[in-house]
Amino acid sequence: MEKQWEEMSPDEKQEELFAKWMSPKDPQGNDLKFQSPQAEKAYKERITRIKDAIQMKKLPDRVPVFIIPSFFPVYNAGFTPREALYDYDKCCIAFKKLVMDFAPDGQIGAVAPGPGKVYDILDYKLYSWPGHGVSPNASYQANEGEYMKADEYDALIDDPSNFFSNTYLPRVFGSLEGFKMLPTLTGILEIYGVAGNFIPFGLPPVQATYKALFEAGAEALKWIGAIGACNMEMNAAGFPGLWAGFTKAPFDVIGDTLRGTRGVMLDMYRQPDKLIEAMEKLTPIMIKMGVGAAKMYGQPLIFIPLHKGADGFMSDEQFKKFYWPTFRKVMMGLIAEGVIPNPAAEGKWTTRLEVMQDLPKGKTLWMMDQSDMAKAKKTLGKVGCMYGNVPSDLLTIGNPQQIKDYVKNLIDTCAKGGGYIVSNGAFFDQAKAENVKAMVDFAKKYGVYK
């Protein structure tokens, strides 16, 4: 009899998630119908190649190659970002065109632009999006702010869910104002706790909030119908989607969208203990978020965008005290469940590499932007597979020969012994198509292991 999930070791769980990724299902739960036997073969070869690179047990047939874009596919298809957010068909056309034009080993699906109409309905304030706060031709961008105040750590630590529903969400979504009046659900105890705690749901602002939620939910469902079908088509054409979902390093949860950059930096001096306590509290929540998505979609890779721990954003001492401990705990929590953390080290992380190599081998996948790759290969690269480092400026304003030279040097520096995947280093919008093509084609040719 097959082993139950609970009885498996972390290695067996990882193998199980790879096996599920290798045999994708359609929404009805049946085996996905590939476009052709060749497409099915290509799909499985690509996953095998990625798996070998990540596990670092044996060499893949060649160095895999990814394209990890922001709005590049949209520009590449001749659409504006605004169109990609509001016309789901156009969004799908753009992302399908990307894999057809360039044939990378991995793709990230068409989910990134997201549904503009949902943000409209919810009156989303945390981001400006194309045609709403930024030009229709620009990508979405975050609005920094102290969405959690300096004196609200205790509220977050005591009850994170309640803090999110009653305090944080009404601040970042104008249409969720009514949530401020919600009862604490843990107060619904015994028969006496019922009526009183349901009174808020009768109040007009709360009902208006629920109306907005229903509308947003309906629209989000419409969106995933279109985008999910598109992602499945890309799978069926032989291109595996990389990520089952995402989670975050606890420091970034607080520093990006709760306290903001300035807020979290001041907290490191003024209330370091509260900051650390809150990060500890968020750690199991971030683990569950990643593990839940990986199990739901039957795929091992969970994306983790890294921000405020980059070189310059804090000292090495601060990194070791504030950033690394809970970030590592989140990764170890994912690894224990067979999940492969895929942190994206945006910017430079050269001074952090030695600290970050304190991880089990063959269990992580790193997107590298501008870190020193020779040093990375000798440190973090000993335990984790890395991809990236092809720079945005070269892709945007360089030429194919420059790209080939750069990729050649990267493969020479990083690919020896496996554990490297060619890719752009940062999520990019603008780029010359011929440069992206040169990156992929050259990697496939030059990256063959002999």
């Binding site: 930024v134 490191m268 001096y269 310059g312 804090m314 601060q318 720079p391 400026d393 919008d429």
Partner: protein, 224 residues
């Protein structure tokens, strides 16, 4: 020197040094207490601000030598803000005007990222430059107008996204079209900015961090 005057002189010199050092060492509570004590002792508020500025210069030097990082800059800025707020009501004459020169600064069109820009603007300000910060998503024409209005000889363009490459180029082109290009030095900066991008945009230089921006400005303004 009269004994009491001498005592007071010594005490003030010591406290001045204390404020410079406590601020440079980011000791928030101590710095605030010293400022309060000196104000209640009736000291010239301009002298206090001068000491605070000297403390900030040390912060800048430590940042340049990688002893300090962005959180230290942010925190020092916060302490300086508190000091300024304490001192301001006591100011009878206005502080000396910035003498290092004028700079027009902003994040270019289509881009609303401001963390990097704010840090450079802050560092330029504490280094004595008069910075005209136009904010984010600034159209090329707005830069041109501000350069004309202020006569600033230095311009800083910030951007985080790849789309900023084109906006920077368009902004430099707009200066050219307005006949301003040979009157200003243009620096660019941001997460993905390199020498390649500098060439593409036609800017004069790029800075890899805030201190590089300050050093460029000092060089261009002829500051020793």
């Amino acid at each position: 020197m009269d004994y009491r005057v001498q005592y007071r002189y010594r005490r003030e010199t010591k406290m001045a040094k204390d404020l410079v050092n406590t601020l440079a060492d980011l000791k928030e509570q101590e710095a605030i207490k010293i400022v309060k004590d000196r104000l209640s002792a009736g000291e010239d508020p301009l002298k206090i601000l001068g000491d605070a500025r000297r403390g900030m210069e040390i912060v800048g030097q430590r940042f340049a030598s990688s002893e300090y990082f962005i959180p230290d800059l942010v925190y020092s800025g916060e302490i300086l803000k508190e000091v300024t707020e304490l001192v301001k009501p006591k100011l009878t004459k206005t502080a000396e005007s910035k003498k290092q020169g004028k700079i027009v600064f902003g994040t270019v069109a289509g881009d609303i990222h401001d963390i990097g820009k704010d840090i450079v603007v802050f560092m330029l300000d504490v280094n004595g430059f008069e910075v005209h910060d136009l904010g984010v998503d600034v159209p090329a024409q707005k830069f041109v107008e501000k350069i004309k209005e202020t006569g600033a000889p230095i311009v800083g363009l910030s951007g985080f996204l790849t789309l900023a490459f084109d906006s920077m180029k368009q902004t430099v082109d707009a200066m050219e079209a307005a006949g301003l290009r040979d009157k200003v030095k243009v620096m660019i900066g941001g997460g993905q900015i390199t020498e390649e991008v500098r060439k593409y945009t036609g800017a004069d230089a790029y800075g890899k961090d805030a201190m590089a921006g300050v050093n460029l400005a000092k060089k261009w303004a002829g500051v020793k």
